[in-house]
Amino acid sequence: MPLLTVTYALLLYAAAGIFVVGTGWRIYGYARTPAPLKIPTTPAPVTRLGAAGRVAREVVLFESLFKSDKWTWIFAAAFHLGLLLELLRHLRYFLQPIGTWVTLVQPFGVYGGMAMLAGLAGLLGRRLLVARVRYVSGPSDYLMLLLLLATGLSGFSIELLERTDIVSFKVFVLGLEYLDWQPLPGNPLLLAHLTLVAVLLIVFPFSKLLHAPGIFFSPTRNQADDARERRHLAPWAARLERGGAGEV
């Protein structure tokens, strides 16, 4: 097996492992930590189902961001929607046979890539040009945008400049899935793209990308407004009530 293939196979396994375990660990941390008080930002839905709908609207429509800043909303929506399309399109490398709907998504993928890059450029521009946003931006905030831009650009260039041998790349990916390694085509742009994706996966659980799981756990958004109707008591608060362990 060529060294290149071995290196990348190990890198991608490691990246995926860190992503899954790291993010899972953070999510476990969120889930395990109680929210001792009812703190939905009101007006809030009065039922749990309604609250789930509110979270869904935040995830799909970026409802709150729409209220606050239309430009940021447009850039963020373009980026995330583009990213989603690209991710769906990339499923063709992982699935055998490719489902019909993955085939249907393919033609939109290119637009997804463009939307993603345009959104990222907009977000970067805003970060650089609006003094308030520049003030709160640190090196990691720029690096994250650059990392995403580089990932998108490398992917896009593969599309335009270096039509990789898709078939043999897919064989490589399926090989990873089935623990039956197959040689990786050595195109430089592809290797760059893969490296960047691996970095993104590795960085995810340690960075602000945690906003993705975070939104589902944010008590101001996911709690129902039913404080008077239902008594809500965290385990540590119940211990405090019983006078246990002197916890405060």
């Binding site: 001792p36 703190i39 930002t41 009101t42 963020a76 008077r228 405090l240 405060v248």
Partner: protein
């Protein structure tokens, strides 16, 4: 205009987002608690020797107890959507008053001690060790947050800077750096039962005086009962209602409503305070202790219902937290919500036609309404989401002929804080309070210009105190602030129904 040693922001034709003025409010900080204030709450009397370690340990403790803290410290993407939403930023231009920058004061320490990235690459991710300079910034800027939650409405992840500043203040107390205003007041509630330190006999005196005043003004015997066992309703007002204009006119309004409703009600000398400043310092145990006093009073007086007076954060604690802190209230009448807001109580009567209101009594006023931040963004009134906006307005409109809302992006869930909430209503913070009031005053100014509005009704003791103090700085008379139940009280036709 009052005399100042700072520049009062100018009112213009619209509110401008200021340019950044780094350090503009770096010197703003409230007085620190004296040893005796700290001691009364069981906090260390002065900065503890190894405070860095204690602070980090306390942060770790809170991270295990509050999901909001953990999720909100992790999730911020620095999108900047909140940066122009805080009234303290809009009024001062100090970039550290941008909500995300305020959070970052705590987040930087969180990253340094609780995240891998912050341990390995502190510079890259803005992680900092807690040192004396940062501690000063904590004290200064976490006391420039009124915990109004406006930023939380606009944040794509609902990140609530109020939660962060509560946690920061809790850590500060833990290392012996408390804030005098809040801690002194909480100790008074524990000892005497209200923020003002008004003992039972003084309270009885005040209420007697009020009965005489109302009798003189209306010829009707409206009672202000105190400690009446077996009354149906226990009213818990903010103690400011016993004390100053325009609060006291609100109390008169409640009494008239109860009188007309024919409901037997009582105040309690043991629990004569709706406010719960322990929320401002983020301390669950203290908050619970204050809330339990009210539960005890309800049990002792054998009442069936608890009604809460006009106070914003008090309603937040009562509505959102009482059931958790001091519940279950299964000894009260289950047909009524526990607790009920006085506005809900009055609204029910109006809807049932049980009150006769002469709107003409308020014809000398053109009224607008200030949605209090805590009521607007942390509570509800009535059954429907948003009832907290509808019900008070319904009361005002039932009592006044001339009502005008302020600009839509300054009311409802987007309302601006009065500038004095969150335990900042203290004289040494007057510059912050005046400047922080700018967005609200600007909106008031606009309806005064456009519609000739003369009065602003408020539904919170802190808002009322803050506005009567800061409006004169902007050339608006202090008596243009009125209580919602003052308007109801003016309009109510006494003695015409059973």
């Amino acid at each position: 205009m009052a005399k100042t040693d700072f520049e009062v922001p100018a009112l213009r034709d619209y509110l401008r987002t200021p340019d950044l003025r780094p350090g503009a409010m770096a010197k703003s900080a409230p007085f620190k608690a004296a040893p005796r204030h700290q001691q009364a709450l069981g906090f260390p009397e002065a900065l503890v020797p190894d405070w860095e370690r204690v602070a980090v340990a306390k942060l770790g403790d809170l991270l295990g107890k509050y999901r909001s803290l953990r999720v909100h410290l992790d999730s911020c993407v620095k999108c900047g959507a909140c940066t122009d939403k805080c009234h303290y930023f809009l009024g001062t231009g100090d970039p550290k008053n941008m909500p995300v920058a305020r959070q970052d004061l705590l987040r930087s320490v969180y990253r340094r001690h609780f995240t891998l990235a912050g341990k390995l690459f502190p510079r890259l991710v803005g992680a900092r060790d807690l040192d004396a300079a940062l501690l000063d910034e904590w004290y200064g800027y976490f006391h420039q947050c009124s915990q109004c939650r406006r930023c939380s409405v606009f944040c794509p992840y609902g990140i609530d800077t109020a939660e962060i500043s509560m946690a920061a203040r809790e850590i500060l107390d833990e290392i012996g750096v408390g804030q005098k205003y809040c801690n002194e007041i909480i100790a008074k509630v524990h000892a005497i039962g209200n923020n003002l330190g008004l003992p039972g006999p003084a309270l009885a005196n005040t209420l007697e005086g009020l009965e005489e005043d109302v009798k003189e003004a209306t010829g009707v015997d409206v009672r202000f009962p105190l400690d009446v066992e077996g009354a149906e309703v226990l009213l818990i007002p903010p103690s400011a209602d016993f004390f100053a204009e325009p609060h006291i006119d609100g109390l008169i309004g409640y009494a008239k409503v109860f009188h007309q409703a024919g409901v037997r009600w009582t105040l309690s000398s043991y629990a004569s305070e709706a406010a719960n400043f322990a929320m401002f310092i983020g301390n669950y145990a203290q908050m619970r202790k204050v809330a339990l006093r009210i539960r005890q009073a309800a049990i002792d007086l054998k009442v069936k219902r608890i009604v809460v007076g006009e106070c914003g954060h008090a309603w937040r604690v009562a509505y959102g937290f009482w059931n958790t802190l001091a519940g279950p209230f299964d000894f009260l009448d289950p047909r009524y919500p526990v607790p009920q807001h006085i506005v809900e109580f009055t609204y029910d009567l109006i809807r049932r036609g049980a009150l006769k209101l002469d709107k003409e009594a308020n014809d000398h006023m053109k009224v607008t309404f200030h949605d209090s931040c805590n009521v607007a963004r942390a509570t509800r009134m009535g059954d429907l989401p948003g009832g907290q906006f509808v019900l008070p307005r319904a009361l005002i409109k039932a009592s006044c002929n001339h009502y005008f809302d302020m600009a839509p992006d300054t009311i409802g869930e987007k309302t601006f804080c009065c500038g004095g909430g969150g335990g900042l209503l203290t004289d040494e913070l007057i510059e912050l309070r005046v400047k922080g009031a700018l967005p609200r005053v600007q909106a008031l100014h606009e309806v005064r210009q456009e519609h000739g509005v003369t009065h602003m009704a408020a539904i919170c003791a802190i808002c009322k105190s803050q506005f009567t103090k800061v409006l004169p700085y902007y050339g608006i008379p202090m008596d243009s602030v009125v209580s919602v139940h003052q308007l109801v009280g003016n309009a109510i036709r006494l003695g015409t129904s059973s």
